[in-house]
């Protein structure tokens, strides 16, 4: 190109990228409000006491604090390369630091560069960000297409003749799917390397200990903090053994 392209530094915190990032956060909040209202209406419908609604809401939020902060700390690794607004956009919506790093590297690779390479200019960054956004849409497009289809087959599976017996059988499905997914994902981490296995084991043992403690002390709210505590202790153990 004849005239000099904008540099990476003058591009990464561009106001237009900030505009996109703020829009992303607003969409998440708007969706949460809509779902929250639907859930509260349904709670009234099934006669669920307001206290239970508050308890469930608080428990979910508290147990999300640890993972949220950890995920954001991981995302900090993208900051020097992506800038603040694009890090928010990429981590705020579907995706993870690991996925975005790999995808960004692939995208820059096709332009003869790589993540952290000093020859990345503004135009390349914008091309990469657009490619990442289109890539992130992949999950959403599949979700939008597949969810109604899978819902239909689920309803068909529970509304036939022997539906009563069948629906009891189908009720096992979410639990079995969850257990199957997480045993597999967990063992994958254990098999990957020794340090990962130690972190995994520590985290599981802390969770077990805190659950027993919560029962012994009769303090169920302790369980809301259990995940965050187990994570932090396990990561600290990983930090010291590696």
């Amino acid at each position: 190109m004849p005239d000099a392209a904008p540099t990476l530094a003058e591009t990464i915190n561009h106001p237009l990228l900030w505009f996109g990032a703020i829009t992303v956060l607003v969409v998440i909040l708007v969706q949460s409000v809509i779902y929250l209202r639907a859930a509260r209406a349904a709670a009234a419908e099934v006669g669920m006491p307001a206290k239970q609604v508050r308890t469930a809401f608080r428990a979910g939020g508290v147990s999300a604090i640890g993972p949220s902060i950890a995920v954001c700390l991981v995302a900090l690794s993208l900051l020097p390369l992506f800038g603040n607004p694009s890090t928010i956009t990429r981590i705020g919506l579907i995706g993870s630091a690991a996925y975005e790093t790999i995808a960004a590297n692939l995208a820059l690779g096709t332009m003869g560069s790589g993540l952290g390479d000093p020859n990345v200019d503004g135009n390349m960054l914008v091309t990469m960000l657009l490619a990442l956004a289109i890539g992130g849409s992949g999950w959403m497009v599949v979700t939008l297409v597949m969810t109604p289809l899978m819902k239909r087959s689920m309803v068909a599976g529970t509304s036939t003749k022997t539906s009563r017996q069948r629906s009891a059988r189908w009720a096992v499905l979410p639990t079995a799917a969850l257990i199957g997914a997480f045993f597999t994902m967990g063992l994958k981490e254990v098999a990957a390397n020794f340090n990962g296995a130690m972190v995994f084991g520590t985290s599981a043992l802390i969770m077990l200990a805190l659950t027993l403690l919560a029962k012994r002390l009769n303090k169920p709210t302790l369980l809301e903090f259990a995940l965050g505590a187990a994570m932090i202790i396990a990561i600290v153990v990983g930090y010291f053994i590696s």
Binding site: V74, G109, A131
Partner: protein
């Protein structure tokens, strides 16, 4: 999911108490997800049309194809794997904000446990939605604080090797605790637990070493095989299911 318990059958006749929830989420779920997709694209697109940046269509297509070749399988596998766990309504929430296994599912399971909601009941579905909503709000708050406001400063104060340890160990650290939480929560269903463990061992220690390309789709195998095993061995027991 959509089946109702025997108790709500008595009071609610044929009315599904979740009908309103299903209606709202099946309309607003896709709408908000499309809005999220648009929001994600708007920044870079404005950079091209308003900011005066140059993106060559050829370079963009090549980059997208490169990403799709490596990641495309994940885009399809993840929604299919999580559908049986999340149910239709929550799919639109989960695949908008992501971090499903490390954040949303632990929040949902903790919330269900906090009110002793049994899986498959409307209460469990409501608790999961409430939890995902509050997790989403915490998610936005953490992004604003940790990335937007204090991001640059945190990078200068946190030692690089500590950040590297967080990056490296965050996934096993969440999975260990969450798997234990689910083992404890489902200890009355040993058949499901044993199926899950057996399938996990089979997939990770037998299948993947034999066919390394299967590593990306390992969780899907875990979901499908465990679900099949649990459903095949399931024997309907009228009321022995109560805890």
């Amino acid at each position: 999911m959509s089946n109702t318990t025997a108790r709500s059958d008595v009071s609610g006749a044929t009315l599904n108490p979740m009908a309103g929830y299903d209606r709202i989420t099946s309309v607003w779920g896709p709408i908000t997800m499309l809005a999220g997709m648009a929001a994600m694209l708007v920044g870079p697109i404005l950079m091209v049309f308003v900011g005066g940046y140059t993106v060559s269509p050829g370079a963009l297509v090549t980059a997208v194809v490169a990403i799709a070749l490596v990641m495309g399988v994940v885009w399809v596998i993840e929604p299919i794997s999580y559908f049986p766990i999340l149910g239709p309504g929550a799919m639109y929430q989960a695949f908008l904000i992501g971090n499903i296994s490390t954040k949303l599912l632990p929040a949902a399971v903790t919330a269900q446990g906090s009110i002793n909601a049994k899986p498959g009941t409307p209460q469990a579905q409501i608790a999961a939605t409430l939890a995902i909503c509050s997790a989403a709000i915490i998610h936005v708050g953490a992004l604003v604080l940790v990335v937007a406001v204090f991001g640059q400063w945190l990078l200068t104060v946190i030692p690089a090797d500590l950040l590297a340890a967080v990056t490296r160990f965050v996934v096993p650290a969440v999975l260990g605790a969450f798997l234990m939480q689910n083992i404890i929560g489902n200890r009355k269903q040993p058949k499901v637990l044993i199926s899950g463990l057996a399938v996990g061992v089979l997939v990770i220690y037998v299948l993947v070493p034999m066919v390394p390309a299967l590593a990306t789709v390992a969780p899907l195998f875990g979901v499908v095989l465990t679900a099949a095993a649990a459903m095949l061995t399931f024997k309907p027991k009228p009321e022995a299911d109560a805890r």
